[in-house]
């Protein structure tokens, strides 16, 4: 390679360009392209650090496809952006959240303890991660500068790099303290770096494919040659890494910073949802080819983490190597810068500020809070970088880039249960979050962080081998005897399981206090409660002057004045300062929260305005509002279902009514017809008699007989019509336990006269088995008389005979009445039970044709029936059946049968 100087010059030149970009962008706040979804997406790609740029190739060379899991997790999270990320953005905007620690603490009752805990976890997770970046930069310097043997220069390089990064971050990252003011300069610089690292990696990839190898086919051969067998590598670890990377893209402080805090337009997320996964896809595309070419062309023992540099160097493409170096430099610096901003904000807001407030307990907030915040952030940035540097120098030297990154991933993953609980579980509370976080963090430290840090320490090796104090079950790499998982998955399993367990247990162990309840509602129902939704519930009082005094210390006089002035104007208040009512105090608290975090802002406001009184009733109301809305809509749904049901019932009832109405019309029309027939004769003959006085006596007597007969017929007809109405309604015949034989014998006796005059012989054959049935004696006799008299009247045989038999079978009393006449035609058989049907045989009989219909109706009322036997060959055979009942107990059933019979059947 050319000299080290060229590389240093390039790096410095690149750094200057970045400073310029940042500087210009910071001046032109809120200009067009800076607030575009593309820049937003590129800033999210700070996810791809030097771990990706250098480490992914190393990982691919060692473990094949496994590197891809780190990018698949985020792809899936962004694919599901609508449910989680969008809600995070909304809540951040409504509540002026400054960091992930602030987010968690704000949800769990604005607890400073939780905020501090999350901050500590984040710092612990970030230190090795930042060290990783520094390591990547220094190593790449050595490789490309050709001075890998001059070990002594490495710490110096690292220190220089760290100092430069600190400077950049302090200049562009701590200009303001308000979370609502974006770090445009930083974002712009990171977007540029995102492009550089993508172009660089693709450049190296193209060299690998077309310069060193002979195109894609050769690459595939090399991959097949160098990759571990495809059957391996898709086990628990594969799944775990996808979950872990998905978690990291949500919980890493720097990701939360760029994705959530720096977002100023929710709609940008809709672009990032696919563009960021696409970015990851493109970054991953050439990882395997580079790894394969590196492994097949470079001398054995080369560090695969540096293939991205050494491969183009070996191929003689120094220009591409330099580009790759700048890409790696970009990856590392962007990560460090954003991490430092996020962590320093957390440290100043959640550790420094609460400590200051505690020290001045009981007094008003003194001094320049804003100055204190800025100072503490700047110091924190330097501190973080210094810790990273120390970790690089004195931490474990052996681990690959990827494994260091994964340790950090699992560290911040401890925040996930509390984060998801914050978004979706209304019952989640501070105790649960605190327990889950600390237990998870402790297990992670013990099972993953310490084994890495203390790998070389003798006493730790002792602990790792036999367990602390010789307790085997507590061995850090085989907790409770779990040995089937590799160290990362082992730590993953135990820390996350315990975290979730204690989070749930703690949350269920007590009810939410009012403030927690309020925050829970604001977070879980973020899309419904709206920005001012719950704020009206919090009541406090302080003078406007006191409040202004506080605000200007935190945010500076200009900004504080702006807030007061704008609020007064927005609420149509004439005075300079707004009336310090509850709404304004809450508004002010939220604005202050964007500078110092929710917990500190609340603490400060409480100092001057007293503790908040939260109206419990109203709170419950708000909390219940969602539930009520849902219940309301369920009720409406139910109502409309009921209405639909009722409508369909009404419809069928209506159909039945229409049917009944049609039957009634038919019945009336038949009745009218039956009545008109005798009336026709009566009218006609009476007119004849009235108009002709020359008719002889015989004739006029004959005519008057006809008139009389027809009048009798008319009367009988009317009686029958009334009768069938009564029978069908079932009124006026109470049922009792009777012997049907009594009714039958009475009927036969009544018909003997008729039979004698018609010369009909009656043959009787009765069973002697005593039976009882539930019926009405008179009505049953009427049925028998009707059937028997019909048999007599319609018998046209020469020697007319009728036969009456009774029998008992299957709980039924059968009465058969058969004659030896010419029988009933098939056509008539279907009609005779209809009303006003008389069969087609012309007879002298002048019944209305209601007799059989009435008989059948009565028999059915008693639970029996009257049928025409289809079997009889000669003559007609009617069978009357009646259920045998020995006790009165099922009378009620009978009555049910009586009254529930549908109308349709009875008219």
């Amino acid at each position: 390679m050319s000299s080290l100087n060229v590389v240093i010059l390039a790096a410095l030149g690149y750094a200057v360009v970045l400073f310029l970009v940042a500087f210009i962008s910071d001046r032109s706040t809120r200009s067009g392209w800076l607030s575009s979804p593309l820049v937003y997406t590129l800033s999210i790609s700070v996810y791809c650090t030097s771990w990706t740029f250098y480490g992914a190739v190393g990982s691919a060379a060692r473990n094949g496809l496994e590197f891809a899991t780190i990018y698949i997790g985020p792809t899936l999270v962004f694919l599901g952006f609508y449910s989680v990320l969008r809600k995070l953005l909304r809540i951040r905007r409504e509540n002026n959240i400054t960091s992930i620690a602030d987010f968690i603490s704000s949800r769990y009752g604005k607890s400073d303890l939780i905020a501090a805990t999350v901050t500590i976890i984040a710092v612990f997770g970030a230190a090795p991660y930042i060290a990783l970046q520094l390591k990547a930069i220094t190593t790449s310097f050595q490789v490309i500068g050709g001075s890998s043997d001059t070990v002594g220069s490495a710490p110096i390089t690292a220190l220089w790099v760290a100092a430069g990064l600190a400077l950049f971050t302090i200049i562009f990252g701590t200009r303001s303290i308000d979370a609502n003011e974006r770090h445009y300069g930083v974002v712009a610089a990171i977007a540029v770096e995102a492009i550089v690292k993508l172009v660089a990696l693709i450049g190296v990839g193209l060299v690998a494919v077309y310069h060193v190898a002979d195109g894609p086919q050769d690459i595939f051969n090399r991959i097949a040659e160098t990759m571990p067998p495809p059957e391996e590598g898709f086990g628990v670890r594969w799944i775990g890494l996808i979950l872990l990377s998905g978690t990291a893209v949500l919980c890493l402080p720097r990701q939360f910073q760029v994705t959530v805090v720096e977002n100023d337009n929710e709609r940008h997320l809709f672009t990032a949802a696919w563009l960021f996964p696409l970015y990851l896809f493109l970054m991953s595309l050439f990882i395997l080819p580079i790894a394969a070419v590196g492994a097949t062309t470079l001398p054995p023992g080369s560090n695969p983490d540096m293939f991205v540099l050494t491969m183009p160097l070996a191929a003689g493409r120094d220009d591409i190597a330099l580009l790759a170096f700048l890409g790696g430099f970009s990856s590392a610096t962007s990560m460090v810068i954003v991490s430092c901003i996020a962590l320093s904000t957390m440290i100043s807001n959640h550790i420094v500020m609460p400590l200051t407030l505690r020290r001045t307990a009981g007094l008003s907030v003194d001094g320049d809070v804003r100055g204190l915040l800025l100072k503490s952030r700047r110091i924190a940035i330097c501190g973080i970088l210094f810790v990273g540097f120390l970790y690089l120098e004195f931490g474990p030297q052996s681990a690959g880039l990827a494994s260091i990154g994964l340790v950090a991933f699992l560290g911040v993953a401890q925040v996930l249960p509390a984060l998801l609980g914050a978004l979706f579980w209304p019952r989640a509370n501070r105790r649960g979050a605190m327990l889950g976080l600390s237990v998870g963090f402790a297990i992670w430290t013990y099972t993953l962080l310490l084994p890495g840090l203390l790998a070389d320490a003798k006493w730790w090796q002792q602990v790792a081998q036999v367990g602390p104090f010789g307790i085997e079950a507590l061995r850090p790499d085989a907790l409770f005897g779990l040995t089937s998982l590799d160290p990362l998955m082992h730590a993953f399993f135990w820390s996350i399981s315990a975290n979730v367990f204690f989070f749930v247990l703690g949350s269920l162990s007590r009810d939410l206090n009012p403030l927690e309840q309020l925050q829970s509602t604001l977070f879980v129902d973020a899309f419904r409660s709206g920005s001012e939704g719950g704020q009206r519930l919090v009541g406090r009082a302080a003078s406007a002057d006191t409040l202004f005094d506080l605000a200007q210390r935190v945010m500076g006089a200009n900004q504080a004045y702006g807030i007061f002035r704008n609020y007064a104007q927005a609420h149509n208040q004439k005075a300079e300062f707004p009336v310090p009512d509850d709404a304004f105090i809450n508004h002010l608290e939220r604005r202050m929260a964007s500078s110092v975090g929710a917990a500190s802002a609340r603490a400060m406001i409480s100092r001057v305005a007293g503790g908040e009184r939260i109206s419990l009733d109203e709170l419950v109301e708000i909390a219940d509002e969602t539930a009520r809305l849902m219940e309301y809509s369920t009720r409406i749904e139910q109502k409309s279902r009921e209405i639909e049901e009722t409508a369909s019932k009404l419809k069928s009832a209506n159909e039945r009514l229409v049917q009944i109405d049609a039957q009634k019309d038919e019945f009336l029309s038949q009745v009218s017809h039956e009545l008109r027939t005798p009336m026709t004769s009566i009218r006609s003959f009476s007119e004849i008699l009235a108009q002709n006085n020359r008719i002889d006596d015989d004739k006029s007597r004959y005519f008057m007989d006809i008139i009389h007969d027809e009048s009798v017929r008319l009367t009988r007809l009317l009686d029958e019509i009334l009768d069938i109405g009564a029978v069908e309604r079932g009124d006026d015949f109470p049922v009792t336990l009777i012997d049907p034989m009594v009714a039958l014998k009475r009927a036969v006796d009544a018909c003997r006269g008729l039979a004698a005059s018609a010369n009909v012989t009656i043959i009787e054959e009765y069973t002697d088995q005593p039976t009882t049935t539930l019926a009405n004696q008179d009505r049953l006799t009427q049925v028998f008389i009707n059937i028997i008299s019909n048999a007599i009247k319609y018998n046209d045989a020469v020697n007319p005979k009728i036969e009456i038999d009774t029998s008992v079978a299957a709980g039924t009393f059968h009465t058969s009445v058969s004659d030896n006449g010419s029988g009933i035609s098939e056509h008539d058989a279907t009609l005779i039970f209809d009303k006003f049907s008389r069969g087609s045989k012309p007879t002298n009989e002048k019944g209305a044709g209601l007799g059989l219909a009435i008989s059948r109706t009565i028999a059915r009322k008693f639970g029996g029936d009257v049928v025409l036997s289809p079997k009889s060959k000669t003559g007609a055979q009617f069978i009357i059946t009646l259920p045998i009942t020995s006790e009165l107990h099922n009378q009620s059933n009978m009555e049910d049968a009586l009254y529930t019979k549908p109308l349709t059947e009875s008219i």
Partner: protein, 123 residues
């Protein structure tokens, strides 16, 4: 010349009163008890006027009317429909099938006589 009348009516008494009043008015009257018999009788005697009850056994009045109108030997017979139902749809059916007059039971004797004589004069 006297009008030839065929009465198709299953009610014996009604048929008898009709016969009496029409004979008094100078008509030549025949009687059938059901639809089939009425058609048979009509072919034999080719009456000028057919008084047709709707509710007839074996073949109802409308069926008889249809046959009469479709049979070239019978089609000239004037048909008076006699019904005890008197609903408007019966009247419509009668008109559609080509009945010449429609009388509802119970009828007034003079109405029947007037109608029969009118129909007889036409033919």
């Amino acid at each position: 010349m006297s009008v030839n009348v065929l009465i198709a009516e299953d009610e014996q008494n009604i048929a008898e009163s009709l016969r009496f009043i029409l004979e008094q008015a100078g008509c030549d009257v025949r009687h059938a008890l059901d639809g089939e018999e009425a058609l048979k009788e009509a072919r034999i005697s080719t009456p000028d006027v057919l008084i047709l009850d709707v509710m007839l056994p074996s073949l109802n009045g409308f069926d008889v009317l249809k046959t009469v109108r479709s049979d070239s030997d019978l089609t000239d017979i004037a048909v008076l429909i006699l019904t005890a139902k008197g609903q408007s749809h019966d009247r419509k059916t009668a008109d559609a099938l080509g009945a010449d007059a429609f009388v509802t039971k119970p009828f007034s004797n003079s109405e029947i006589v007037t109608e029969v004589l009118r129909l007889g004069a036409k033919s």
